[in-house]
């Protein structure tokens, strides 16, 4: 069953589809511009050795973001 969780709560290795940025508006323009958009499939590859930031694979490349940023991205696991 599909389930919406925060990107920061996604399990390592799991793939999910971005659903929404709950805090709409100007905050995460750059993340969107880097291709993380509602409907985009992403995979959480790993966290850094100290647990933060996260590394995701999106549109064929690797991107890092902090957990505090990933909290504002809702994803749907399948």
């Amino acid at each position: 069953m599909a389930q919406e969780i925060k990107l920061s709560e996604l399990a390592i290795g799991a793939t999910a589809v971005v659903r929404a940025y709950p805090k709409a508006g100007t905050e995460f323009i750059r993340l969107r511009e880097m291709g993380v958009l509602p409907g985009t499939s992403i995979t959480l590859i790993r966290t850094a050795p100290l647990g933060d930031p996260l590394e995701i694979k999106v549109r064929g490349y690797r991107l890092t973001l902090r957990k505090s940023e990933a909290e504002f991205v809702l994803v749907e696991t399948t």
């Binding site: 940025y21 709409a24 508006g25 100007t26 323009i29 750059r30 993340l31 969107r32 511009e33 880097m34 291709g35 958009l37 509602p38 590859i45 790993r46 850094a48 050795p49 100290l50 647990g51 933060d52 930031p53 590394e55 999106v58 549109r59 064929g60 490349y61 690797r62 991107l63 890092t64 973001l65 902090r66 505090s68 940023e69």
Partner: protein, 703 residues
């Protein structure tokens, strides 16, 4: 809406703008195209590098290429990206508006790269798309249909491998074309925002005399350029345009329209369609990058790799730099002596030898370290490891409010703050970058070592410092400096340079084999920038310092010590004594402090001059400095260099800003005298306060 304009064939030479994402091989391509025919400077008013090169068309006409800073989007996040945006939009009077655009994309991350391409195509200017790193597509299971991309976009698309020079001839041929087709860049602006775009476009055309398509592109950009980075030297948007924008934003906010998101989404919708057509992805196992990353970012092996590579870098800097440094040192001395011997004695001769030559020498002596460090920084960047180091260290750097990108500049500063500060340009956030620059010189650099070693030698009664004492003191000094750097970073972040939480949205580029030619090129370029920009400041300060120690003249036949003690520098030392007495220093140490503003290690040679006077023996020159120091006393007979004072001097040198080369580099990198002066004040102030506390408490306990 498809533009019906075609670029008119012109006989004049073209100005190309070279744009692309960071890590797409743009610089390599620029160097391959222009070779050594390039001018490097700063954009006036900003610390963003301006590079313009010349390339010859197949007809022999010179064409210029402006290498714009790497950007992911025209909605800028950093001064670098702001410059790219402003040059493309014709907002900078200091740079010729490019009439054609070369856009480089990394074939392995084509889809994301097309976002910038999509924005740039809006400009409606003739453009050549360069798909670089084609060699890496195969191993990533990617197949890119260049021909289809060309057909769909309607512009020349050239596949290249810049590191191997592949595709360059085709590129030059395309650049030489008198007529370049304009793109069939047709995408419909989403309905929610289309009236706003039309109004903004009309205002930009009417109020800022922008061309039709540029105005449309800029109108679109204004919607995503929230809290735009404004850089000095760029024209701001017209008040009327700004008013239209803000009234629309208010309306959208009420209606709940996320205008920026709508725009970005519609661009990516178009991009996804295009990518699906031209990119054929086949399933491959874990790529080489995946396998390397598994080790390099592993919770255990990752630290090991990071630690070992840093240790190796430092070992090679300290062991390799020593020989050329000694060579430079001795040859500068030789040159000075030779000039001394061949000119008539006099002030002019001394100005040349003790001022100019010695000053230039103190600059040159840093070069080996700077070159070696830049070699390693280039190696880390070029292979892709730099981003991994930032990834691993981000959590720790975040504790003091910085992000992972500050790690390498700060670490480099253990060898020498100059390359450390010069490498802060990779830090996107302006405030983070400034904080890193401000605290970097607190990291104990190698120029402090001679001072530490001298003080340790003076500290112990025997000729050899026991290893344990030496190691403990060294660790103490490095810890103090590091703690100071992080403490001040935290403080500045909390107070002076309060900023938003820095983001860590960073690409981890695929690993590449290092491109040595490119690294060497950058090394030499950095070194040259240092020499040219810092050199003049340093030369001036050296001459001033020489003047202070050479004037006024003592009587004829006075010894070097007598001359120094009654010179301006010596008098300043006396003047300083009330200030430095509470931290245990007398006027003679004061002279050392003043003269070592040139560079910390000068303290050793100037104390040698000051203190050999006390020996009253003809062997003054050969008496080890250590003994001379132990012989030095206050007028009331107390020993000057007590262990406590030696320790205090070491601590003072940990914190005090005693390096004119760093001052000069900070001036260049912050583009004002404000920050280097602030840095001198806060560092030297801290040095005094901490040394005062240590000395007073130490004295209280009878040390």
């Amino acid at each position: 809406m498809a533009p019906s304009l075609t670029s008119a064939p012109q006989s004049r030479s073209f100005v190309y703008a070279l744009v692309g994402n960071p890590n797409c091989g743009k610089s390599t391509l620029f160097n391959a195209l222009t070779g050594l025919k390039q001018k490097v400077g700063n954009y006036p008013g900003v610390t963003v590098e301006k590079k313009i090169g010349t390339v010859y068309s197949q007809h022999g006409t010179a064409m210029s290429v402006i290498d714009l800073p790497g950007s992911y989007s025209l909605a800028s996040r950093s001064p670098d990206e702001a410059v790219t945006r402003d040059v493309l939009l014709g907002r900078r009077p200091d740079t010729p508006a490019p009439d054609r655009i070369l856009c480089v994309v990394d074939a392995t991350s084509l889809e994301r790269s097309l976002y910038l391409v999509h924005q740039i195509l809006d400009l409606g200017r003739p453009m050549i798309l360069i798909v670089n790193m084609m060699d890496l597509t195969f191993q990533n299971g990617l197949q890119i249909d260049i021909e289809l991309l060309k057909q769909t976009l309607g512009i020349p698309v050239i596949a290249t491998e810049a590191t191997k020079g592949k595709g360059l001839i085709e590129l030059k041929l395309a650049m030489s074309r008198l007529d370049l087709p304009l793109s069939k860049h047709a995408w419909s602006i989403p309905q929610e925002i289309s009236s706003a775009v039309a109004q903004l476009q009309a205002s930009l055309t009417a109020d800022s005399q922008k061309l039709y398509l540029t105005a449309r592109a800029e109108a679109l950009l204004l919607l995503t350029d929230q809290a735009p980075v404004h850089v000095e030297g760029s024209k701001a948007i017209h008040p009327r345009t700004a008013e239209i924008l803000s009234s629309w934003q208010k309306r959208w906010e009420q209606e709940g329209v996320d205008w920026a998101a709508v725009l970005i989404q519609s661009r990516y919708d178009a991009i996804s369609k295009l990518s699906a057509k031209v990119i054929n992805e086949s399933e491959t196992g874990p790529s080489l990058t995946d396998r390397i990353d598994y080790v390099v970012t592993h919770p255990v092996w990752g630290w090991l790799v990071l630690g070992i590579s840093m240790v190796l870098i430092f070992l090679s800097i300290f062991s390799l730099a020593e020989y050329p440094m000694n060579w430079i040192d001795s040859h500068v001395t030789l040159l000075g002596n030779w000039v001394k011997g061949s000119l008539n004695p006099g002030d002019l001769r001394d100005l040349i030898t003790d001022g100019a030559i010695a000053g230039v020498g103190s600059v040159l002596v840093f070069l080996p370290q700077i070159l070696i460090l830049f070699f390693f920084i280039g190696l880390l960047e070029s292979t892709g490891y730099m981003a991994r180091a930032a990834f691993i260290m981000d959590r720790l750097m975040n504790r003091v409010g910085l992000n992972g990108r500050s790690f390498i500049p700060m670490l480099s500063s253990y060898a020498c703050a100059i390359p450390g500060i010069m490498s802060t340009r990779t830090i996107e956030d302006e405030k983070d970058r400034l904080i890193t620059i401000l605290v970097a010189p607190l990291m104990s650099c190698s120029a402090r070592l001679p001072v530490y070693l001298l003080m340790m030698a003076a500290l112990v009664p025997s000729d050899r410092v026991p290893l344990f004492t030496k190691a403990t003191l060294m660790v103490l000094m490095y810890t103090l400096g590091t703690a100071g750097a992080f403490g001040f970073a935290w403080l500045f972040k909390k107070t002076l340079l309060k900023g938003s939480q820095p983001k860590m949205i960073m690409e981890l580029p695929p690993y590449h084999l290092p491109h040595l030619k490119q690294i060497l090129f950058q090394m030499i370029e950095r070194a040259w920038i240092f020499l040219r920009n810092a050199g003049s400041v340093i030369l001036t300060i050296s001459i001033v310092l020489w003047f202070l120690s050479a004037f006024p003249k003592a009587h004829d036949g006075a010894s070097a010590q007598e001359q120094l003690s009654q010179s301006f520098a010596g008098r300043t030392g006396h003047l300083l004594e009330p200030i430095i007495k509470p931290i245990g220093f007398d006027w003679r140490i004061g002279i050392g402090l003043i003269s070592s503003f040139a560079a910390r290690e000068v303290f050793v040679s100037s104390t040698a001059v000051v203190f050999s006077v006390n020996n009253n023996t003809t062997h003054a020159q050969t008496t080890p400095l250590r003994l001379a120091l132990r012989d030095a006393h206050w007028p009331d007979g107390r020993m000057l260099f007590t262990p406590l004072v030696c320790l205090c001097l070491m601590i003072y040198y940990v914190f005090a800003m005693q390096c004119m080369s760093t001052v000069a580099v900070v001036r260049r990198e912050t583009n004002s005298w404000k920050w280097p002066l602030f840095q001198i004040a806060y560092m030297t102030g801290t040095a005094w306060i901490i040394t005062f506390l240590v000395y007073q408490v130490g004295t209280l306990f009878g040390f």
